[in-house]
């Protein structure tokens, strides 16, 4: 649940909830190693993390349940350090030392 930016790598453990874990081999938490800088030598943004998760972590073939038209699909909340990512710059948010990133599927049952 914590992201640590190392010299060249971001070690990132993110968590999924609300059913999303089914896309990720039924695990709620993943520890990842993501490069700290992207191809253009810029700090890695959440958009990159989403792409990375989709390509490397997701075992389910139905990528469209996580990403639609190159963006996170509607109905998935991204929570950065216990705040809605809309308060933090959304996809452009640059992942920092010690960040805490959570993907949550919105629920509708009652």
């Amino acid at each position: 649940l914590v992201c640590l930016a190392l010299s060249s790598l971001i070690k990132c453990a993110h968590a999924s909830s609300g059913g999303l874990e089914m896309l990720f081999s039924d695990q709620r938490r993943h520890v990842l190693s993501v490069p700290a800088l992207d191809k253009n030598n810029k700090p890695v943004a959440v958009a990159y993390l989403i792409e990375y998760l989709c390509e490397n972590t997701m075992k389910d073939t139905r990528k469209e349940l996580f990403v639609l038209d190159d963006h996170l699909r509607p109905g998935i909340l991204v929570l950065i350090n216990d705040a809605d990512w809309e308060l933090e710059g959304e996809e452009a948010y640059e992942i920092q030392d010690g960040d805490n990133i959570l993907f949550v599927s919105t629920l509708h049952g009652g």
Binding site: S17, G18, L23, P74, G75, D84, L107, H108, G109
Partner: protein
């Protein structure tokens, strides 16, 4: 009794004594509860416990909206119904239970689902609305009518072992006012793809998971009323309350998380200054919630 000069009846002091003596409630809070009308939309896994604790606390009027009938598969989580009431209208069953708990409350049943056509008439007389329904279509409709009529909305949902709760449109300032809290569309502007929506029937639900969320809805509602909602409140906050989304995950080692959410969205379809949403527009059926949320296909996963 003759000559009784207290603000509450003798019976009410006995019944509500344990909450009356809380400094945060007091006689003033109890009178606010007594003069409040609360609408519970959905008499299922969320609505049953929410209505139970609202009735227990002594709200003046409790309205319940649901068009369904009690089934035996409801009973593991819908604790206000009973085996003997299988086949009965859920609205009647829930009210029968609540009246048994507290006959002092005025109960109003709406044995129908909320629709764009009946929403204004149903919701208008209430001070707070609880969304205890189970589908995105009703969630967008309830939010829209709460924005249009200026009602705070206590919204919760649950599935499998997870739950979510948020208080929306609080305070319920008019469309375009920056003083209001965000609505459901501010937080979720686009509905999820229809084939990613799972109901409790399809995905399953653990009874106490949805139960906890329903009880917490009653708690948030009581807190709103006791503090004085909307116009009644002397100390209207200068800045709008930004809501907190409560996440519950029964299988996690830290089962609850509180997430700071955004304020009103400047281009929100429902609550922005630019919004074209009106009561007339809604009632005319110009918004097709079913189409907006997509065609529901029976096969799905999330």
């Amino acid at each position: 009794p003759q000559g009784w000069r207290w603000p509450l009846k003798e019976e009410e002091y006995a019944r509500y004594g344990r909450q009356l003596i809380l400094p945060s409630v007091g006689i003033k809070g109890q009178l606010r509860l007594k003069s409040a009308a609360v609408l519970v939309v959905g008499a299922g896994g969320l609505g049953c416990p929410a209505a139970a604790y609202l009735a227990g606390a002594g709200v003046g009027t409790l309205g319940v909206v649901d068009g369904d009938t009690v089934e035996v598969s409801n009973l593991h989580r819908q604790i206000a119904h009973s085996a003997a009431r299988v086949g009965m209208k859920k609205v009647d069953s829930l009210i029968e239970y609540c009246r048994g708990l507290n006959p002092e409350v005025k109960y109003v049943g709406y044995n129908e689902h909320l629709t764009p056509q009946n929403a204004e008439d149903v919701v208008n007389a209430y001070d707070v609305v609880l969304d205890c329904t189970d589908h995105p279509t009703s969630r967008y409709l309830i939010s829209d009518i709460c924005v249009l009529l200026g009602k705070p909305l206590v919204s919760a949902s649950a599935l499998r072992t997870d739950g979510q709760m948020i208080v929306l449109n609080n305070p319920p300032a008019p469309q375009g006012s920056a003083d209001g809290g965000p609505c459901y569309r501010c937080v979720f502007p686009k509905p999820p793809p229809a084939d990613s929506v799972v109901s409790c029937g399809e995905g399953g639900i653990l009874g106490p998971v949805v139960g906890v969320m329903g009880v917490l809805q009653a708690l948030e509602t009581i807190k709103l009323i006791v503090a004085g909602i909307g116009k009644e409140n002397d100390q209207v906050p200068k800045e709008p309350l930004t809501p907190s989304l409560l996440l519950f995950s029964a299988t996690s080692s830290t089962p609850f998380r509180s997430i700071r959410m955004r304020s009103r969205r400047l281009n929100c379809f429902a609550c922005a200054a630019s919004s074209t949403l009106t009561l007339k527009y809604l009632k005319a059926g110009s918004l097709d919630y079913v189409q907006f949320c997509g065609v529901i296909s029976p096969v799905n996963v999330l």
